[in-house]
Amino acid sequence: MKLTTQDIETVAYLSRLELSEEEKEKLTGHINRLLENFEKLQEIDTSDVEPTSHVIPVYNVFRKDEPRPSLPVDEVLSNGPQVAENCFVVPRVVET
């Protein structure tokens, strides 16, 4: 299984990264080398093995549904690159 530059472009789009041509080329080689290393895992029989997503046996953690103080709006917005009227401003998302 070898990735082509076109595969890399697809993954870059899914990752929301606008890569330069040079980066695409470098990443293609690099990711292919890593995938070769990953092949090693196929040697192991894991047909009866449960996957580990977390090492501790904690599943759902609940708290009482009670209102608690939250951050003030002006603080939440304080790091926003562009804000107005208590909102984050972004480029237009829908067509007019």
């Binding site: 990752s15 093995v49 501790i56 953690v61």
Partner: protein, 497 residues
């Protein structure tokens, strides 16, 4: 006395403070002067906060004057890795994408240290988003190893480890996803502990790989490690993965006695081009512990051989998901270009162009690479072959550790196969770079605690000894590490800077 306060440990400074031989202000000033003197050489800090530190120290002195009883960390100057949120103080993760980010809340660990009245000297350098093994991936500058300025301090918590080694702080916090506390502690000749997964709240730690990340102390000796562990461990309602288990007083484990303890030495940890001098220092440490009454045996953990590929699937997968939040909307960098601002229709312009260009400009090469690998490993059609397979092999690795801990109380290995390598030496060889973490990654995958302590030198560079124990048994780790430290003199040696 007062002119070299910065060389002292937490417990030594605490005694001077409580017996009123020095003030908290004198202690803090001593560290500020030390930073002034050596920071240009070491470059451990992204941000320093001397005014805040002096204010906090003054408050400690007022408390002393009022006759308040002080805890062991009161008035003790600390440095925090720059991926932990500090309210009102820049938290950059050494990334351009967060170059201007000032959190509006404190990480739980920061809050806990503040409530113990520790003093904050600043935020330390790291590999961007903690992704790396040398701190060379910082978007801002390279930190130097105080023992040899041409070598790396290790990573990703290289700034924290270098700051402790260079006496620029009494202790520091780091974070460890695949060895990022233990490996730099090893390279810089200090003590670094990765606690059991869930021991310490991750709330306010900028997430890299959530099932692996854990915060821990970097200190000058094992006693200080126990003191900081006492302060930072414990359940936090803001982190649902923090464990609701009692936290012992870790200073009770500062016991010079290993009689009857069983040490396992797993051979797989010596198999990856381990420097013969590193190997002999580690084996000599095991022999010393045996001479003090412990028993040691070779053992084998076959699945450890798969640690690196498992880690380099799981960590990037989690990272690609965690780093999706950096989109230029709510904080940090936002790219601006005509294709974004002049958007007047559908297609790859407007907000999508803003996401893509912001991330392209904001992330460094290593971070982009990991996002790409993770996205690929999680994408439809490849999920089972890579991510699910890695999770299953992770289970096998956990079982190997469970089996080993049925027989042994602790496992001892090198922390890293070599001592610190040269700056630039491995930057073009990603595989060689990743090998530096080969001995530390398994503990993260299994969620168990590990500690690195100095066990010798090679060409003037420190060698690190790693001790691992079963989940939640940091007490045994501390006991073994403390006993070893009491019978060796490595701590007495200081870098000449």
């Amino acid at each position: 006395m007062a002119d070299r306060l910065y060389e002292l440990t937490i417990h030594e400074l605490g005694e001077l403070l409580r017996s009123k031989q020095v003030s908290a202000r004198e202690i803090t000033q001593s560290f500020i002067d030390r930073i002034e003197a050596v920071e240009e050489t070491v470059k451990a800090f992204i941000t320093t906060t001397p005014e805040l530190a002096l204010e906090q120290a003054a408050a400690v002195d007022e408390a002393v004057a009022r006759g308040e009883r002080l805890g062991p960390l009161a008035g003790i100057p600390a440095a925090i890795k720059d991926n932990m949120c500090t309210r009102g103080t820049l938290t950059t993760c050494a990334s351009k994408i967060l170059y201007n980010y000032k959190p509006v809340y404190d990480a739980t660990v920061v809050e806990r240290l503040a409530s113990e009245r520790a003093v904050f000297l600043g935020k330390t350098n790291l590999d961007e988003f903690a992704m790396g093994s040398s701190t060379e991936n910082s978007a801002f500058f390279v930190t130097r190893n105080p023992w040899n300025l041409n070598t790396v301090p290790g990573g990703s918590s290289g700034g924290s480890a270098a700051a402790v080694a260079a006496d620029q702080c009494a202790f520091a916090l780091g974070s460890d996803t695949g060895g990022s506390i233990r490996q730099p502690a090893s390279f810089c000749g200090v003590v670094g502990m990765k606690p059991t997964y869930g021991r310490v709240s991750r709330y306010g730690l900028v997430a890299f790989a959530s099932s692996l990340d854990q915060i821990g102390p970097i200190t000058k000796d094992v006693t200080d490690c126990a003191l900081v562990m006492n302060a930072i461990c414990g359940r936090d309602p803001s982190d649902s993965t923090s464990l609701d288990v009692p936290v012992p007083d870790f200073t009770k484990s500062l016991v010079d006695d290993v009689r009857g303890l069983k040490i396992g030495v797993p051979k797989e940890f010596f198999a990856y081009g381990t420097d013969p001098d590193v190997e002999s220092a580690v084996r000599a440490a095991v022999d010393l512990l045996v001479s003090l009454g412990a028993q040691a045996d070779e053992t084998s953990m076959p699945s450890v051989d798969y640690g690196l590929p498992v880690y380099y699937i799981i960590a990037p997968a989690e990272c690609s998901s965690n780093l999706a939040r950096y989109d230029g909307v709510r904080y940090g960098l936002r790219a601006l270009s005509p294709s974004i601002t002049g958007f007047s229709g559908a297609g790859k312009a407007g907000i999508v162009a803003m996401f893509e260009q912001t991330r392209e400009q904001g992330f460094g090469a290593e971070v982009k690479q990991r996002i790409m690998i993770g996205t690929y490993a999680l994408s439809a059609g490849y999920y089972d072959a890579y991510y699910l397979k890695a999770q299953k092999v992770r289970t096998l690795l956990r079982r190997d550790f469970e089996k080993a801990f049925e027989e042994f109380d602790v496992l001892i290995t090198p922390t890293s196969p070599t001592v610190a390598f040269g700056i630039g030496e491995r930057s073009d060889d990603p595989y060689a770079m990743k090998l530096a973490d080969i001995c530390t990654i398994p503990a993260n995958l299994a969620g168990i605690p590990g500690i690195s302590i100095p066990c010798g030198f090679k060409n003037g560079l420190p060698i690190g000894l790693q001790i691992m124990a079963k989940g939640l048994d940091e007490e045994t780790l501390i006991r073994v590490a403390y006993t070893y430290e009491q019978h060796t003199q490595h701590r007495a040696r200081k870098p000449e800077i």
